[in-house]
Symmetry: C2
Subunit: 615 residues, 2 copies
């Protein structure tokens, strides 16, 4: 045995096995590095606020001031009827302050300012999220469906009253049987040429409208999506204005309303079901921007394909997919502010004989919260970019902007879900008490991942858009360009002539934003090319394309996520570059680095598998 | 340019770039593989139930029968006062049915059956979780603290009345300033030798008891944890019985009760704060199993070290860390049953021209739910193992069992959090309506990751226990044994004489449980050895051990998780091996494989980094 001794010691040394004294007896000094950490204010907060608020700072201040009025004190009743009325009252105040109609044309009393409208949604979201959703249903979904899908006549007749909340209304698209797949809606709008009317009808119970905001109590009218039927022929889904209640709130004949009742959150919003029993509406109630019935009783549309018309219609409603992720981000910011501040003052444990230490000083706590803080800043700039693209959109860009909105909606709302989960746990028992707000923030935003388009479904759309773009770029590229693209991505090419210095692990390299961008771009391009390759292979092997897309759904989500990671990082970087104040820039630069590194860390399995990184 | 053509085609071929026809035009047959999938019942459910229920099947049936009585219909009031009373009534029914005292000694009317007690907690958890927690506070925390920390006199005086719910009570440990770090509690119990009394006192507002279940409304007595002071000397935290209210519910003099109010969940439980203003209790109210004041007015204890005594005291309460993860698992099972059943009937989208397809047929949906189903089965058997170890414990094993309970508590409650999150999203809008139960399941169990010990803190404890075991094993091993251990783990050794066949990727190998176990063991051992090495290195470099543990917290969590993954898999495998029915075994074998593979996939970054797997 003796001859083993040197081996033994060498191994003990190599492994650095813990000595007895360490495990059995942890001597600590009262003052340790961990206890000495403390947070410092390294920059002027108002400067950072100015950067974040940008050109919307005035409206943001206005809304914040309004919310600080006593009548906006949080409603604490758990009675949903009380809560719903309170939220409705709040909406009336906002309407009175001319906030509801911010985006509508001047001629109907509006402000014609969509940028401000988004900023209002975002700022209201620091307060009560039922208010945000009720506000969004009324002025966004209901009002903007009339604005975008209707024409002059509808605008004149309704927009002012929608903006003043004289006509509370609904956006009635989803049906029990059709949520994500709205193309399959079954409600019918049958044209009667004699009477010049449409008959709106729910053919069976599971075709009832469901989850409709404002339906259970307050809604007087609704934009109803229904299949247009003319002379027995189905012209696909179109939008119609239907009266639900009279001005006294009495439900109209032929209409049956149900109440979705208590929900996980957003209990200040009155979601309901609607059944139409042969409800007759005048012909003029068809929102006829993209399709109409002409005087001869025939279908007319500037867009011949049912499919394209439907998606064009939906496309005009993309604003909701900007408002929701911005609202989600505000909730995440609130949660982080609560959790990080609390963690900086909450003390628990400490070195033997020393005083207790703020929990924020624990490495684990930092790892739990800081990457989420960084990600939230990143998303902020990503959403600013989305908003800018949307505001300055032109026809040709629409598809990409829609994909970007779908992607950012998913990215931001999933992030909020994760952020608020971590914030709840990071605050321990305090995070569970409703008085500390995480409850409401978390449960109200819980549905954000589902409504305005289910995230998992949206990410598939994003990926399909990426595949189409890939195909297009590739079609237009000349051979040299393509080979260049391929060299950048194909794995074989990589290993032959790897342009990326994978083995540099010094700190400067790890913090280098060029390296970060390259790493994110590499993942973006490689996941895309490899999904394309796989789908092609599956189809070549005889699989139906529907099946091929099903089998690769998981990869599709990766494609979308990688694209969004890159875009968000890029926008964060551009925004930070522009910051003039040194100290603010220094602080955000560190968050930018942390964002990039945590994305890379999250995907380290991918990078190692790919060979981009080595162990 | 022409000479590039062959390269071009080769690359196009290698990459399998999508052809035009694929991206721009997805032709689908109405009948596709995706639409043809359908679920089948491949085994006899009652046989699987018998295996899961095991020797507790009788009591489980009894509880299920009870819960199906009309008086146990869910309470739907959102008024917490109504809900609290309903839950209290439910507890009374359970007490009357002799379920509350199941674990108490026969002589006090109990059933002396701890195994049944756990099964009751678990089964009640298919119903209302406020009921489970109220039940657990009363019969578990309150009753068992009297049973475990008190002696004969206390048992005689209280146990029967606790078991019958004649004396509703509390377990008052946590204070506002001290949650995880209970050693730091500040409530004092000052001994008065003249009067033979203790004076229970809250020295400052932040030392009040907080979150205490049963305190706000129903509790008449409480086990109060306080620092024992005798003649000015502090003898550390001990437990005392204090009366909070008289039998009419009137609060006793010197006691101030606050109400924690509305919470994220568990609103049927009346959590409150307690302030003691020099409350005098008789000497006999000290729970004196581990420490007492003798007739001479001196401190006495069979366990000399304050620290060890405190942890021995806590150790007797480890039952809660078995009840909670088992309750959590029931909630996860309910969620999965709801989501998977719904997904099998919910149809959305489909191939062009074909009918819509159950969402469970989508690959993404399967990937979202099935690994969680597999993990839940795995945890079931892991928790059975924990329970068995606990029920047959001997002194020497206690530390390991405590670590196992702490670990399983964290593992199961975190898993439930993830499961219910996914179930909510998988059900789309339906998952958000309270009537579909996911709301209650999710929000009620949300705090499970925090109470009975915060998970992040518990995982550190588990890892420290692993390090201690590692040290111990290593100290006892002879040189050959150690080298063998090291060879199995050290990376250098691995690459020289790798016993693991890393390159086998055929299906048989991938599904082989030997491979799974080896992979999990490898990660368990390597993360442990590497954490030990890192801590040693940090301390050698001059860092205080407190700082060294702080810096490695993240790794410590990995050590604990890797250990638990291996144990749970091992127990799952042992349980599956024992199943006689071929069909049930076949079904569970697939889940066992899926569990192992999904753990490996989750940790693929680690495996690649480590070199155990190659890209
Ligand atoms: C509180 C609330 C308010 C709402 N307000 C309104 C409103 O005012 N007006 C209105 O019209 N609607 C409203 N909705 C409806 C909302 O838009 C829908 O819930 C949403 O579109 C999702 O539809 P669904 O609930 O039917 O889910 P489903 O479409 O049934 O989706 C269920 C699950 O299946 C998955 N899935 C579906 N298809 C696929 C696929 N092809 N591949 C992989 N996975 C798939 C999804 O990811 C999801 O997890 C509201 C909903 C709620 C809950
Ligand atoms: C609904 C409810 C019911 C309860 N019922 C009872 C009861 O009946 N009786 C009773 O006595 N108590 C009860 N509790 C209290 C419960 O046991 C405590 O909330 C729990 O022990 C956590 O303590 P804390 O809330 O102070 O969190 P803290 O200890 O403050 O922890 C906050 C955060 O800091 C982190 N953290 C703390 N220390 C460290 C560290 N060293 N390293 C890294 N991270 C760290 C934690 O991970 C956590 O995320 C209840 C609590 C709730 C919410």
């Amino acid at each position: 045995m003796l001859r083993l001794k040197p081996v033994f010691s060498k191994l003990e040394n190599d492994l650095g096995i813990l000595g007895d004294e360490i495990v059995t007896n942890f001597h600590s000094q009262a003052k340790t590095l961990t206890s000495e950490y403390h947070t410092i204010g390294s920059f002027d907060i108002s400067k950072l606020t100015a950067i974040l608020d940008g050109s919307q700072s005035l409206i943001i201040r206005k809304v914040k001031l309004l919310l600080s009025r006593p009548e906006f004190a949080y409603e604490t009743s758990t009675d949903i009827h009380v809560y719903r009325e309170k939220v409705f009252e709040w909406c009336k105040i906002l309407a009175k302050e001319n906030l509801g109609n911010t985006a509508y044309p001047h001629q109907y009393g509006g402000g014609e300012n969509m940028a401000d409208y988004f900023a209002i949604m975002e700022t209201l979201s620091y307060h009560d999220l039922s208010l945000v959703i009720k506000f969004g249903v009324q002025f966004g979904l209901w009002g903007m469906s009339v604005q975008s899908l209707g024409t002059e006549n509808h605008h004149r007749k309704y927009l002012a009253d929608i903006g003043s909340l004289k006509i509370p209304g609904c956006f009635a698209m989803t049906e029990t049987n059709h949520g994500s797949n709205v193309k399959g809606l079954e409600t019918t709008a049958t044209y009667d040429h004699q009477a010049k009317t449409f008959v709106i009808h729910t053919p069976h119970p599971d075709a009832r409208k469901e989850y409709i905001g404002n339906a259970a109590v307050h809604g007087q009218m609704a934009t109803v999506f229904a299949k247009l039927i003319i002379k027995g022929k189905d012209y696909g889904v179109n939008a119609f204005i239907v009266s639900l209640r009279d001005t006294n709130g009495k439900i109209q004949p032929g209409i049956t309303i149900g109440d979705c009742g208590h929900k996980m959150g957003l209990n200040g919003v009155d979601n309901g079901t609607i059944i139409f029993n042969k409800v007759v509406i005048p012909k003029e109630n068809m929102l006829d921007r993209f399709a109409s019935v002409n005087d001869a009783g025939e279908f007319e549309s500037p867009i011949p394909s049912d499919n394209r018309r439907f998606f064009t219609m939906l496309g005009t409603l993309v604003g909701g997919r900007i408002g929701i992720p911005r609202s989600a981000l505000s909730a995440a910011k609130s949660g982080l502010a609560i959790a990080i501040r609390y963690s900086d003052s909450r003390r628990q444990f400490g070195p033997e004989g020393g005083s207790e230490v703020p929990i924020l000083n624990y490495r684990m706590h930092q790892r739990r919260l800081m990457p989420l803080l960084a990600r939230s800043y990143a998303i902020h700039f990503g959403l600013q970019y989305l908003t800018q693209r949307y505001l300055s959109k032109n026809e040709a860009e629409m598809q990409q902007i829609e994909a970007l909105a779908a992607g950012m909606k998913s990215y931001s709302t999933w992030s909020t879900r994760d952020v608020l989960q971590e914030c709840r746990e990071a605050c321990g028992g305090k995070g569970y008490l409703s008085e500390n707000r995480i409850n409401a923030l978390k449960n109200d935003t819980e549905i954000y991942t589902t409504f305005e388009g289910d995230n998992t479904v949206l990410m598939q759309l994003v990926a399909k858009n990426r595949l189409a773009e890939f195909r297009k770029a590739f079609g237009q590229m000349n051979a040299v360009g393509m080979i260049y693209y391929v060299y950048e991505n194909a794995k074989t090419a990589l290993s032959e002539k790897n342009p990326i210095v994978t083995r540099k692990t010094d700190e400067a390299h790890l913090l280098d934003d060029q390296f970060h961008l390259q790493a994110l771009e590499h993942r973006e391009k490689t996941t895309l090319a490899s999904a394309a390759r796989r789908i092609k292979k599956l189809i070549d092997s005889g699989l139906d394309s529907y099946d091929a897309f099903n089998v690769t759904q998981h990869q599709m989500v990766d494609v979308a996520r990688a694209w969004l990671d890159r875009i968000i990082f890029e926008q964060f970087r551009l925004a930070v570059d522009k910051i003039e104040d040194e100290k603010v820039r220094a602080a955000l630069t560190r968050l930018q680095q942390l964002f990039a590194l945590s994305v890379i860390e999250q995907n380290k399995g991918w990078y190692l598998e790919d060979g981009y990184m080595e162990a």
